[in-house]
Amino acid sequence: MANRTALQTFGRSGNPMFRGNAFQPDATFGETDSTQRMTLAGAVNKTGILLVLCLVSAGYVWNQFFQSGGSGAVKGLMMLGLLGGLAMAMVTIFKRQWAGLTAPAYALLQGLAMGGISAMFEMQYPGIVIQAVGLTFGTLAVLLLAYKTGLIKPTENFRLMIVAATGGIAVLYLVSFVMSFFGTSIGFIHSNGLFGIGFSVFVVAIAALNLVLDFDFIEAGAEQGAPKYMEWYGAFSLMVTLVWLYLEILRLLAKLRSR
């Protein structure tokens, strides 16, 4: 299948945040005041703000979890975080202009879920959370350096590969989730055997490579003078990928520790 046909068939990106017309609603942004345009520093600062917000709410749930000695006390907060975070993500994707409000709300809500999930893993495997956090930000830094120096060059084929793999993983998780209602699941996804660990390594690699698309998206937005709110949107897309990467690293480490 020719690249162009494939892109038209599968969409330019499976990630709804990276639709080809990402900057489209502001086709006139060339005439916008320069202070109202997206900058790299602005996107980086806003990513920092989102990380702090996520950390604050995660810390709150983490403390609640260990003070009460179990997940019972934080289940409600975790559900609020998961469902609220999903809702905020959807709103941000479809109403990018609102990203200045919805992205921080997403980070706060996602922090509630992350705090609870992390605490559960930490209780089972002490020390695992700091390892996952360290590896997540280590990966972020290494890939950023690789992107900035031109070591990794995202092309249409690269995007097609990442999008196809991400979509495949999403479908697999969805099928597994549906199957869980019938008391069964796709075994290797959760197994700590070699195949299960290999699958997790693959998913971590794909999640990490999604960061490169995020970097390129932000770089292109800043270069082309996208509107200011796209800084929040870029930060949000980076945040979504970081949360996914963190969770997958956490799962991978848990599988390795459980052997």
Partner: protein, 53 residues
């Protein structure tokens, strides 16, 4: 603080610092000036923004 926290905590802090510092700078020229670069706005400029009546 154990070795685990020291190593991975340090890695996390270093990663964030690198991101906050390096993220502000534009990518290398070899990254920006190439023919096969991803076109995030190609559809908009080529079709949506200009060719629509």
């Amino acid at each position: 603080m154990g070795l685990n926290e020291l190593i991975f905590g340090g890695m996390a802090v270093l990663g964030i610092v690198v991101f906050m510092l390096v993220g502000r700078f534009r990518a290398n020229r070899s990254q920006r000036d190439r023919a096969d670069r991803l076109k995030w706005t190609a559809v908009d400029k080529g079709h949506s923004a200009q060719k629509k009546p």
